[in-house]
């Protein structure tokens, strides 16, 4: 399974650490928001009061400069409960799965309440990092993407570059902020704050290749238990961002959770973007020459 990024581990040589990441298993998220709180506390993030949104239990709305973990809440009507509509054999199989501890906490009584803790994806091909003109955004020895706050000059280029709408500018501060995957804690061999606080292990932290291997087992288990729409999101190196350093197990399509179904790093088109800009520059030169020499002085 490919983990390498453009500069990690190559540029770190012997100093490179294993690529660390998050596996967020949303099937066991209970929506407690302990991750949001722990993240705010540890990283000393300013409060972000948006008032009452009416969007289920979600009043933090989205990831932004002051929200680095965001718990999404989605309320859905679904056909009855585990046994409803199922044949006896299917129901028995599901019952066995529930007894085995692999059923989700989120479903019952014809109602499904999806909860998912979103975070910066720490992309293998990170558009924000490539767009950053100052080098404030960099790839750490753990393969994560972090903003150096003493370098960022608040140009804002990373903000529209991110295909997930994660990174954002803090207005009164001027600089951009996002999840650091607790770079400071990692340096001290500690788990990130959100994963430490998560009471159900919905947020799992560890070496990325090990997490990806675990996730395959969890996905297979859920599929066996009748969760047909369970899916791994950003778990593969051949998606549009080369796979996420933070990836997810979702119970519905990504767009339901506010995630793009096919995010693509804009750098994939950079060659043709530069080619078009170059061709336009040449055309401009030709046009200027034609205007000056193509008639009376």
């Amino acid at each position: 399974m490919k983990l390498d990024t453009h500069v990690w581990p190559g540029s770190y040589g012997e100093l490179a650490k294993p690529r660390m990441g998050f596996f967020t298993d949303t099937s066991v998220c209970i929506g407690c928001k302990a991750c949001e709180v722990a993240c705010k506390e540890w990283n000393q993030i300013p409060m972000s009061l948006h008032g009452f949104t009416g969007n289920s239990y979600d009043n933090t709305i989205a990831l932004d400069a002051d929200t680095w973990r965001h718990v999404a809440f989605i309320e859905q009507r679904v056909p009855a409960d585990a046994t409803g509509g199922a044949s006896l054999v299917e129901a028995a199989a599901r019952g066995e799965a529930i007894d085995g501890g692999v059923a989700t906490y989120q479903q019952g009584d014809g109602f499904r309440w999806l909860m998912a803790s979103d975070v910066c994806k720490h992309c293998t091909d990170a558009a924000c990092l490539d767009a950053c003109p100052t080098g404030a955004l960099f790839r750490t020895e753990f393969g994560t993407v972090v903003v150096q706050q003493d370098v960022c000059n608040g140009c804002g280029y990373c903000v529209p570059a991110c295909p997930f709408g994660v990174i954002d500018q803090r207005e009164d501060d001027g600089r951009v902020w996002k999840c650091t995957l607790c770079y400071d804690r990692l340096k001290d061999d500690m788990e990130p704050a959100c994963a430490t606080a998560c009471p159900t292990n919905s947020i799992q932290f560890g070496e990325l290749d090990a997490l990806r291997a675990r996730a395959e087992h969890r996905l297979a288990q859920l599929q066996r238990a009748g969760q047909d729409t369970a899916q791994l999101y950003l778990a593969d190196a051949d998606d549009g961002i080369g796979g996420g350093g933070a990836f997810f197990l979702l119970l519905d399509e990504p767009e339901v959770y506010g995630l793009p179904p096919d995010p693509v790093d804009t750098r994939r088109d950079l060659a043709s973007i530069w080619a078009a800009a170059g061709a336009a520059a040449v055309a401009l030169g030709a046009g200027l020459a034609a205007a000056v020499f193509g008639g009376s002085r």
């Binding site: 979600d58 999404a72 501890g101 490539d130 767009a131 003109p133 080098g135 370098v151 000059n153 140009c155 280029y157 903000v159 529209p160 570059a161 997930f164 709408g165 994660v166 954002d168 001027g174 919905s202 932290f205 560890g206 070496e207 291997a213 395959e216 969890r218 996905l219 297979a220 288990q221 066996r224 791994l232 950003l234 778990a235 998606d239 549009g240 990504p254 339901v256 959770y257 506010g258 995630l259 793009p260 179904p261 096919d262 995010p263 804009t266 750098r267 088109d269 043709s272 078009a276 800009a277 061709a279 336009a280 520059a281 401009l284 046009g287 200027l288 000056v292 020499f293 008639g295 002085r297």
Partner: protein, 325 residues
């Protein structure tokens, strides 16, 4: 869009945080870049009057540009960090270096043309400023195209040509304003042809975008687009009919065309905000691509293991694998 296509109707992308300085810089940078080229070429054709005025226009454009860009920064006093490295992957980094080199050479060229000082340095600076002006006029299109904003990214092949025509229009109309009509024939030709191109190429770009081009047809982007077209049409008509004889008409026409060029930059700028604000513009084409089999998407339902191991799959037994190796 239906509720299941988005999360409570919330945007997927963040809107850009750029403010009014940026579309104004698109205009100023284009004005400076194309004016330097116009000045250098006019000089080599022997039109000294137009050349001098065009150098001044270039100097004006390149003079306000750093101020506009610095003012837009969240941390203006860190503007020098823009030159901390050179990154081809960042059009903003490349552009900062182009702007720096272009600014230095244009200042030297303009100073030597007007004062006669530094004649040798000035002679070297003039072609350099003219050449650097070309990428200065179009890199800004690459900059906004190199984002996740659909309306900008999806037009990345045509947008630089819209900006190139806009730059030519800005330089041509500035030349028409600054130089007397009997010396301004090249500027008039430039302004008239680029006026037609600016409108035509932008229209073509918006049509090619199809559904993704909707932000150009609604709200602020549409308003700026219409104002731009009206100004350009009126200015071009006035310039073509009376611009060659009357200085007053030429100045009026040049002002209208300049306003049109500026308004077109604002239209492109505002379209990006409309595009980023609506989750449908992000989700729909991505989902359509997956369903058409053109993209695999970022999600997968099939597990790579056939026989799941409950111990490895259960969150309850998730180990914290802290630097085991």
């Amino acid at each position: 869009m239906s509720p299941s296509d988005s999360y409570h109707g919330r945007p997927v992308l963040k809107q850009p945080v750029w403010t009014w300085e940026i579309p104004c810089y698109f205009y100023a940078g284009g004005l400076a870049g194309a004016s330097a080229g116009l000045a250098y070429l006019s000089e080599s054709r022997g039109n000294e009057v137009l050349a001098r005025r065009a150098w001044s226009a270039a100097m004006l454009g390149i003079g306000v540009s750093p101020a506009l860009l610095t003012s837009d920064l969240g941390r203006p006093f860190r503007f020098l960090n823009m030159l901390r490295m050179f990154k081809v992957t960042s059009p903003m980094s490349v552009g900062s270096w182009i702007l720096t080199a272009s600014g230095a050479t244009t200042a030297l060229a303009t100073a030597s043309v007007w004062t006669g000082w530094f004649p040798r340095a000035g002679r070297a600076a003039r072609p350099a400023a003219a050449a650097l002006g070309l990428p200065l006029s179009t890199y800004t299109a690459a900059l906004v195209a190199n984002t996740a904003v659909p309306v900008w990214h999806d037009s990345h092949r045509l947008l630089p040509f819209v900006f190139a025509s806009g730059a030519a229009l800005s330089a041509g109309s500035a030349g028409v304003i600054a130089a007397p009509p009997n010396h301004a024939a090249p500027a008039r030709r430039l302004a008239l042809v680029s006026a037609a191109l600016e409108v035509a190429v932008k229209e073509l770009m918006e049509r090619r975008l199809a559904e993704q081009g909707e932000p150009y047809r609604h709200g602020a982007a549409a308003r700026f687009g219409r104002i731009g077209q009206a100004c350009i049409a009126a200015g071009a008509t006035l310039l073509a009919t009376r611009g060659g004889r009357s200085r007053g008409a030429a100045i009026g026409a040049g002002a209208l065309l300049s306003a049109g060029a500026l308004s077109a930059r604002w239209s492109v700028f505002k379209a990006g905000f409309g595009s980023a604000a609506n989750p449908a513009y992000v989700v729909r084409p991505q989902r359509a691509g997956i369903e058409a089999g053109e993209a695999r998407g970022a999600a997968r339902r099939q597990s790579r293991v056939l026989n799941p191991d409950p111990a490895r799959g259960s969150p309850a037994t998730a180990p914290v694998e802290l630097f085991a190796s």
